[in-house]
Symmetry: C2
Subunit: 289 residues, 2 copies
């Protein structure tokens, strides 16, 4: 990862953590403790995208940071709930026990619920005009809900019991909700904060979100092949359609590369100031985990 | 129940249902179907409070209805999640199977998550000024989250494994979050929508919320005693401190009556136009279920 991108991600993570530490009491009981456990210390890719878009548009970091923290709260809540036994039933997340393992299922449920509420509470902070805060809030609600992330998750679950594997079009639709909607919201947020045209960042975010998911599917295959001793990729093993199963490994990789090129091209209007966003797009398909 | 109150509750329920039907696609798959199943057809007490406060302040019903529907979405999501096996593990709600019984736990989790997001999406609708919509949204997030409903729920769970039963002060604090915060938000909402002073309605809502919970504890004892064949009240049976265990049955009833009197007195500034709100306060302590 390039130094500028690394510094920007670290800075984004620091902004999010500072906001969460001031929003959640340090000795506030198990739910408060588990909220901080779940929401802090992540890669903060979504917060980075929001802060970077804001910086490009001249929005002050203290006005942009609440929105950046809000989308990380939504992302964190979705991971806590997805990890629960009634969903993916995962014991580890970022190398640490998941919330329902470190605490219990009831706490995990409440932690996710409270993190989602906190996102919409945070969006009232900072000095942006009310209309822009409201636009951030309603668009984040849309991106998080039935027509975005939750909807994609619901389609993913339905696909597991479907008789036919999904088509490429259906997988793109599913991923646009499940992972794409929050990434696209994050990319657009800086323009919304500035009251500026969102077209370029929206296109960047859309391409980035899809490239991100294709890279995930590639990692599911290549990561496993490299890490000897592990079985075949878990998605392929379940007979689940993925970008790799539908496009082939080389086809998936080249699709991701062309999406990243399109992402970078779409923000050419910002010139050199968008360099870190371009680095992020490249990073998304070159990451190893 | 008095005819005016009955009509106003039915009307509130109709407003909520209309908004939900236009917000959630009718053939949108299991999660969308279960969202409508969970959120429609309730008593709509909270929506009624919001709409009635709005009417008193001259806010048009089409501008107030999204907020009324939003708080019902939050209430409905909390019931769906509370009923899950990792929380209260209830099979029936309003005489129908709970969402995780009628569908499954994963669906129930997503339904609650999507209903919460939808609340903040709906708050963008209608013709109120942006600043007031934003104030509704951030205050609802606060009332729903760690410092309100979820926080109260967390305290309730913690109390179940505590060595000492809660004190009266602790129960009041717990209930102020668990059930009080949404009721108070609903009562205040009309004044927020109008940009008017919230003091009177806030006090009304605070007293009403507490009276509501005391009445619940009374019903838990008297309802059971009357319905022969059922065991002693479930809270008392669990050794859980309630308003009845702390104040005695008569003490709890007289506390509820004086809270209702205070609720009614606090909105005297609105004169006859607040008559239905007074009826609602009386109803809360006279209901049989």
């Amino acid at each position: 990862m390039q130094a500028e991108l690394k510094a920007a991600l670290r800075s984004a993570s620091g902004e999010v953590d500072a906001i969460l530490r001031s929003a959640v009491p340090a000795d506030g009981g198990p739910v408060a403790n588990a909220m901080l456990y779940a929401a802090m210390g992540g890669k903060a890719l979504r917060a980075f995208l929001a802060l970077e878009g804001a910086r490009i548009h001249g929005v002050a970091v203290e006005d942009a940071a609440p929105g950046a923290a809000a989308v990380e709260c939504i992302h964190a809540y979705s991971l806590v709930h997805d990890d629960m036994p009634c969903m993916d039933d995962d014991d580890l997340r970022r190398g640490k026990p998941t919330v329902h393992k470190a605490w219990d299922e009831g706490t995990a449920l409440l932690v996710g619920d409270a993190l989602q509420a906190m996102a919409f509470d945070l969006l009232g902070q900072g000095g942006l005009p009310d209309g822009r805060k409201l636009a951030l809030s309603t668009s984040l609600a849309r991106a998080a809900g039935l027509f975005g992330m939750v909807g994609g998750q619901a389609k993913d679950i339905a696909a597991e019991s479907a008789e036919e594997p999904l088509t490429l079009e259906q997988i793109i639709d599913l991923q646009r909700g499940k992972t794409g909607a929050l990434i696209e919201w994050s990319a657009r947020a800086g323009a919304v904060m500035a009251g500026a045209d969102q077209t370029a960042l929206a296109r960047y975010g859309e391409c980035l979100g899809l490239a991100f998911q294709i890279a995930d599917d590639v990692l599911d295959v290549e990561g496993d092949a490299e890490a000897m001793g592990k079985a075949v990729g878990k998605d392929a093993g379940r007979g689940k359609a993925t970008f790799v199963s539908l496009l082939g490994l080389d086809g998936a990789k080249s699709r991701a590369v062309s999406l990243v090129t399109e992402a970078c091209d779409s923000i050419s209007v910002y010139g050199d100031s968008a360099e870190t966003l371009r680095q992020a797009a490249q990073f998304v398909i070159s990451r190893r985990n």
